[in-house]
Structure formats: C-alpha cells, structure tokens
Amino acid sequence: MGSRYLIRKVVGACLTIFMIVILNFVLFRMMPGSPDRILLRNPNVTADAMAAARIRWGLDKPLIPDQLVDYLESTASGDLGFSFKFHGEPVTDVLAGRIWPTVILFGLGEVLAIIFGLALGAYSGWRRGGPIDYIGNGVSLILYSMPYFVIGILILGVFAIGLHWFPTSGMLTVGGSGDDSFPSQLLDFLGHLALPVTTVAIGLIGQYSILMRSSVIETLGEDYITTARGKGLTSGRILRSHALPNALLPAVTLIAINLGYVIGGAITVEVVFNWPGLGTLTVTALEARDYPVLQGIFLLLSISVVVANLIADLIYGRLDPRVRS
C-alpha cells in the first residue's frame, strides 16, 4: 500500500517534469523578439555578424523538430547549453554560481518566518481576543499585503542609507583592505545578508501567522481538546501536545510549497538589494532573451516546486493515513 502510494506520486512528479521541459522550450520561443536581433544595438554590427550569430546559437535551424530534438537530447544528458548573454559560459555554470545565494537568502528567510510566524499565530489563536492577537493579527495582515520590494526599500532607506548600520547591496565586500580571516568574512557576509533576509522574513511572517492562528482556533474547538481538558491536563500541555500537532497540518503544506519557491526566490528582493541570486539572473536573462539560461532557471524552479510538492504529499501521507488510501 505504502509503496504503491509512493510510486504513484513519484511517477506523477516525473511526468509533470517532462511536461515542463517541453513547455519550457515552447514558452520562451513564443516570446516576441529574437536573441540575434538584440545584437543589433551596436552600430558596428553587420549582416554577416548577425548570420554568424544565428548559426552559432543554432537559431538557423527550424524550431521543430531540429531545435526541439537538440534541446531534449542535451537536457536529458544534463547539458543545458551555453548562455548567449554570458558568452561561452555553460548554463550549468551560470546557474551553479547563482543557486546558493538564493537558497541561503530564502532558506534562512523562510526559517525565520516559520519560527516567528507560527509562534505568533499559535499564540494569537490560543489567546484569542487578547492584545497580542489584536496587534499581531493586524500587523500580519499588513505584512501579508505588502509586496517585498516595498518592505525592502523601506528597510534599505532606514538601516543602510539612514543609519549606515548595514551595507546596501551585494553579498560580500570585494577586495579592499578588509581582514581576510574567516570570522571577519563571515561577519561581512552576515552584514550583507541581514537586510534582505529580514525583508524576506517579514514578507512571509504574515501568511504563516494568519494560517496558524485560524488553524489553532479551529483545533481548540474540537472534541478531543475538551476530552483532554476533562483529563485534567494543563492548558499549556493541551496546546503543545494536542492542539499544535493537528493545527500544524495546513502549515506543513504551506511550508512545503513555499520551500519549492526558495529556488525561485522573490525577484524583487534580489533586485532591490542587488543580491547575486537566481532572481537577478532571471531579469538579466530576460532582457537579453538568453533562452538557454531562462530554460535552465525555469527547469530548476519547476523541478524544485514539483519536488517540494512531492515531499509535502509524502509527509502528509505519513501524518494523515487517510490520504494514503
């Protein structure tokens, strides 16, 4: 039973990824504008240069089947091609350099948002109608509705430009007279990380808190809570051992889905803080019609979402046996 559930889910995920690979190819070629034409904004470009670029990038071949077949073959073998914009660099290298800044930024932001969001939500729900609930719920709603870049610009204005506490942008101070020892590098990195990670966390706290609050309130009304009270358990114990585990179920789904987007990140946060992640890469690649890089990013993004959903399904199946049947 258990293994059949697992196989079904994994096969489903693989099929989804295959569909995405195909869609990926079609989608970017439906965009108006062609990469070889973007070369043209240099007055020295000649018709010969354009023709040479088309041949080099394989754009002279028909879209279907030649370009599609080439694409499927190389994707299957893990070769995502070469970037148009970053001349001569393999897409896998371009992506590899950009993944970890995004993963750290959004991974850490998520963790912080989960801790504070769930804690705030659980407390608000438990002490419903209290001052924390009023303030917490109000603040959560405001944060939930605020786009990342607004939060980012506010934070940037206050803590970097106003107070000079943190650097404005980038991930590390490059070169210079800085101490090159590991602790000082770490401090430098954390200093650069502080503002963007706060922005991500603040942007996410709202949704976790709101979800957790309503979930806790709902759970607290269940019969088994009354039973637990009847057994004479303390209210703290009831919350921890009985209400929270069940209230966490919807949060697990949300966390898993959000983790899928960790790779994609929030483009606007990265752009505001000039964070060298996949978000800024997406913007650059879009501007240059860098098909191979765009395909790589979207492939990575969609695979991570599919995998995160698969994990959510599996965890859910584990937590709630009804799902498996």
Partner: protein
C-alpha cells in the same frame, strides 16, 4: 519536559548555520591595506574576451587589461600603447610601428611584434570573405583601414601595409592579445574562448576575479607606464537596479558611479565630497521614421516623403523635452554625428526651430490637408494615424513620446504611443532579408538612441542602404549618402574626409530619416575624499571613466596621503609604480590571485543539496517521533 517545536527549529537553524559556514567562499588571498577603487555601473559584464563583448563595461575592462596598438589619449588623440612610436611611409601605403623595448606581459613573458601580428591576423583572416570575428564589433577597425598585410621584420617592429592612404590605424579599438596564451584561438573558435581570469595583458590593471556581480582587477606588475594610486579596481554591476547603485554610492560603498538617473544625480550634486559631472556624450536619442518603400512598412506613405518628415521636425520642441524629461542634461540634436566628435560634427544649415504654425503650413504645402475631423490625410486619402513606439529600457523615452504626441496632435497628426519590450522592438525594426518584406517592419516611428565610437564611421553607417536588414532602423536609402560614405572612408586625409562628412550630415538633416531629439549627457558622480587626480576625457567637457581607453585610471592619487599642492593640479600624476611609498609596499603582491570562484561555485550546490536533504530528514524524523510520543501520552 521536551519541547519538540523548539528542538526542531534549533536543529534546522543549526543546519543552516552549518550551511552558511560551509558555503562562504574560501577567503581570498589579499594583502592588507590595499587601496581599492570601487566603480558601479548598471551593466553587467558579458565577457572578458574583447571580441565577445557588446557592452560599455566590456570595453572598459578590456582596455584596462590590454593595450591597443595606439591608445586613446586625454582628448582621444593617439598616444603610445603597445607601440611607443609610429611612422607612415612616404607613399602613405605602409605604417611602421615600434614596439616598446623590454615590454612584458603581466605573466612576465616578453611582449613583441609577433603578438601584434598574431592579433591583427586573427582579425584579417577572420573577416576575409565576409567572415566575422566573435561578435564582429571590432571588425570594422581593420576593414575600414584597407589593411592588406601585417608583418614583423624584427621583434620590435610591425609593418602594416594598406591599399589606400589611411589615418585610421592610429584610432583602432583592437586590443593586442598575447599570442602565447591565445595561440590556439582562431577566427573559427574565438567566440568560444572565455579568456578566463587571471587575464594576461599589457594594460595597467589585470582582471583576477570575475563573478556575476563584479570584476576585480589588480596592478599589472610589469606595466610599462605609470599606474594610479589604486592597488585594485572593483567594477560592480547593478543591472536593473540603478537606485540600489546610488544608495551604495551614498553609503560610500562605491567611489564612482556611471549613469545614475537624472533625479538621483541632482540629489548627489549637493552631497559632501562628491563631484557630479554631466558631460557631453558621444551619442544621441532620435525619433526615427520608417521610410521603407518596398512593400510592408509604415501605416502611411507620408513617412516616405522628406517634406512630411521635415515638417514634423518643426513640431518638436527640443529645449522643452530636454528640460522636462532630462532635467536639462542634454543638448538639442541636429545631425547624426554628435558634437562630442568635435573634429567631425558640423551644424547643418537651416536648423529647424519649434513652430507649430510653420509645421502646419509646411504640411499643407506638402499636400497633406486636414480631413473633416482635423486629422491630416495622406496622398491615398487615408487619415494619418502614426504609431510611436519606444523601448522599455529607459523611462525617459516614454515621457518624450507623450510630449511628441501632444505636439503632433496640434498639427493634425494623431499619434498612439506605446512602450515595447526592447527585444520585441529591435526585431520589429529590422528587416529579415530572408523573408518577403510584406508584413514586416510594422512600425511608424520609434524613439531610441545610439552611441558612437571616436571614429564617425560607426554612426554614419547605420543610415546606409546596406544596413537595411541589420542596423538600419529608418530603412532609409539615399544613393548620394551611400556614395559619400565610401568617399569619406577612402579619403586620404582628414580635411577631405571632413568635407564629405559635412555633406553627409546636411543630406541627413534635410532628408530627416531621423529627427535627432537631443545629444544625451553622460552622468557620472564620484567621491573626492578617497581619491584625487580625477581627470576627464576629453579634458574639457568629458568624464573620468567609461570613455575610451583606460588612461584616467592611471592618473588617480590617494586623496588621504597627497598633500594638496597650492596649484591643486587635477592632473597631478602619481609616482611611477614601485617608486612611490604606497606603491612599493604592495607592488610585489599582485601575482595572479587564486581564482577560487570556479571551484567553490561548482561544489556549493552539491553541499547545499546534501544539507537541505539532511535538514528535511531531521524534520521528518522529529515529526514521526513526536507523533509516537503524543500517541503514547494519550494512551497514558
């Protein structure tokens, strides 16, 4: 009592902490007290290979890495580069360049005439039979100089023969690359040569680290000339984030920024220790008309009529555009050769001044009467409704479009303005010559800009008939203009050349395939408390960086150490590298720095993946355990 939630989060946090620690790039090997010049730009470097870069920042980096055969001087005049002197033969058909004695590449290898022969042959062989070297942007410099051969009679001399007398060889943008590094690079594979760090060149600073965010260059220990006070130069990229760049500048994280918005620039003007410099740029913003005549093309034939286009020129109030849109940072435009190219720009006769009445009467006279609802009608009896497009790359274009819409409305031309994605627009504007013209070139007017070279050829040639299908965005064709282009290119001396170029500018202005709206200023700002010795290029009216060549990088001095001389000469030159106190202490250091980015870059995703999976496993196990424990508790 156990607190599962706290436990779990603690573990996840710990996992992330570990990840952070593991993922930090290996500490770079750097000497302390290094004076770093930090420069910000809104572009991001596309390639370290000079033949593969399409961007301003790419030219900036390769002219720091490499010498041109003859460099660009303070006023873009020829100054010693790879060659320290040159002569032209009596018959004007050959040039002899003397290569500096004892010059070395940054890796210590001798730099000789063989390197020049290698580089120029790469270009010459590559461009034979219509071929292209890399992106092809550097090809015209030799092609337009009629070079027939390059030889090296001895290690310190290069002889270049040409089929016609030319002066263009001393204005060539082709960097001399080291043969011993590039030996396997041919015209066929130059596009795939990444030219990875550490770059080996003869220029003053060499790229030793290049990432998606910045490129870092350090002193070339073997540089033949004077170097600046800065021990290293970091050029940081802010693509799509000019405001972040300005914030970093305000926060003193950057010493120099190129191209902030006009609004930010105005704010920075009053900042402490800051020079905000609006300098004349070698480029323009134009309103180009679609004049295509051979099927497809614009929505009305009126655009093919020079009289119609000229009349519209009287309905554009350029001073207002400059004031309202660019806050004054531009000058009114006339010809396709910007005044920046002082030797070549000539103001045309009969410059059009804004006057709605003149525009109206000229349109009446040209045979475009107003229809019943006031909209003018073309010769086919169709109301003239023009589409005006602008790319999304610069918000000022859309503002220009709004004004033009208003003014053209006053002369009875209805305009619908639309901002389009750059990629879409550039595709719309270029004729695909492999397909029938019908249905192509579906636009009427576009607001966009061009940036030129020190040599006027670049901006003259986009209007040639032969550029239709590549760079032409007006699809304009004029045999006399084409003929003059050939003549100016073949002119034996600058005086003759200027005569032809003057005629080309007048024809262009009278025919008005473009209306040059304005010559944009370059906006640059820099701090004066860290570095002194800032010099502009051109000296009068230019800017320190992002011009032509790297000369101004070599003139900077340390503002904190320099005792300001009473004359406070801005041109004060630093002591030669190695002889000054500052330079001496660090000069031995710049041996190629290990480039850790590549290796750590490829291992990192793997580490992240492993840690993420480990973290997930921990969460999973904790949850399972907690469920069992809770079940057990309930059973109690």
């Amino acid at each position: 009592m156990r607190s599962p939630l706290c436990d779990r989060f603690a573990r996840t946090l710990a996992a992330f902490g570990l990840a952070l620690a593991a993922l930090l790039p290996a500490a770079a090997v750097q000497a302390k007290d290094i004076l770093t010049l930090r420069v910000g730009t809104v572009e991001s470097l596309d390639s370290l290979n000079p033949f593969e870069t399409a961007l301003n920042v790419g030219y900036e980096v390769f002219t720091l890495n490499y010498d041109l055969l003859v460099n660009f001087g303070p006023n873009n005049d020829p100054v010693p580069g790879f060659a320290d002197s040159w002569t032209q033969s009596a018959d004007q058909l050959s040039w002899t360049f003397h290569i500096r004695d004892g010059m070395k590449w940054s890796d210590g290898q001798p730099a000789t005439s063989a390197d020049v022969v290698y580089t120029y042959n790469l270009e010459l062989n590559g461009t034979k039979n219509g071929g292209v070297v890399g992106l092809g942007y550097l090809d015209p410099y030799l092609k337009d100089s009629f070079v027939t051969g390059v030889t090296a009679p001895d290690p310190s001399h290069v002889v270049i023969t040409t089929s016609r007398p030319t002066t263009k060889l001393t204005h060539s943008y082709i960097p001399i690359v080291p043969q011993h590094i590039w030996k396997n690079v041919t015209p066929a594979n130059v596009a795939n040569f990444a030219n990875n760090v550490p770059v080996v060149g003869t220029g003053p600073y060499q790229a030793v680290e290049s990432t998606s965010q910045y490129v870092r260059l350090v002193r070339n220990p073997y540089y033949w000339g004077k170097q600046g006070a800065e021990d290293e130069i970091v050029i940081q990229y802010y693509p799509s984030a000019p405001d972040t760049m300005v914030a970093a500048f305000k926060n003193s994280e950057l010493d120099y920024i190129h191209s902030p918005s006009a609004e930010s620039f105005n704010q920075l003007k009053t900042a402490k220790n800051t020079v905000a410099l609006a300098s004349e740029g070698n480029g323009f913003t134009q309103l180009n008309y679609n004049t295509y005549t051979k099927g497809g093309g614009a929505s009305t034939t009126a655009l093919q009529d020079p009289a119609f286009r000229k009349a519209l020129g009287y309905a554009i109030d350029k001073p207002t555009l400059i004031q309202k849109v660019l806050l004054g940072y531009a000058s009114p435009g006339t010809t396709q050769v910007p005044p920046w190219e002082t030797n070549w720009h000539v103001e045309p006769n009969d410059v059009r001044q804004f006057n709605i009445d003149t525009a109206n009467s000229m349109l009446d006279a040209a045979g475009y009467p107003r229809g019943p609802n006031g909209t003018r009608i073309d010769r086919q009896g169709k109301p003239i409704n023009l589409r005006l497009y602008a790319p999304n790359t610069d918000p000022s274009y859309a503002k220009d479009a709004q004004f033009i819409q208003g003014w053209f409305g006053q002369v009875g031309i209805k305009v619908s303005a639309q901002v389009l994605d750059e990629g879409t627009l550039v595709t719309d504007e270029a004729l695909d010559t492999t397909k029938p013209a019908k249905g192509q070139l579906n636009y009427d007017m576009v607001i966009w800009g061009w940036v030129g070279d020190p040599d006027p050829n670049a901006l003259l040639q986009i209007l040639l008939t032969s550029s239709i299908g590549s760079t032409s965005d007006s699809q304009w064709s004029d045999p006399q203009y084409d003929q003059l282009y050939v003549q100016q290119n073949e002119a034996a001396n600058d005086a003759d050349r200027k005569m032809y170029i003057t005629q080309m500018q007048q024809i262009f202005y009278d025919q008005a395939p473009y209306d040059i709206l304005y010559y944009d200023n370059n906006l640059d700002t820099y701090h004066t408390d860290k570095f002194a010795g800032w010099q502009n290029q051109p000296v009068q009216g230019g800017a320190p960086f992002f011009q032509d060549g790297s000369i101004n990088y070599t003139l900077l001095t340390d503002a904190t150490k320099a005792t300001p001389a009473p004359s406070a000469s801005v041109n004060a030159e630093p002591t030669a590298a190695g002889s000054g106190g500052v330079a001496a202490s660090v000069a031995p250091a710049p041996a190629p720095v290990p480039t850790d980015t590549g290796s750590s870059g490829s291992a990192l995703p793997l580490i992240v993946g492993v840690i993420a999976i480990a973290a997930l496993l921990v969460v999973f196990i904790m949850m399972t355990r907690r469920r069992r424990a809770a079940a057990a508790e309930d059973d109690e």
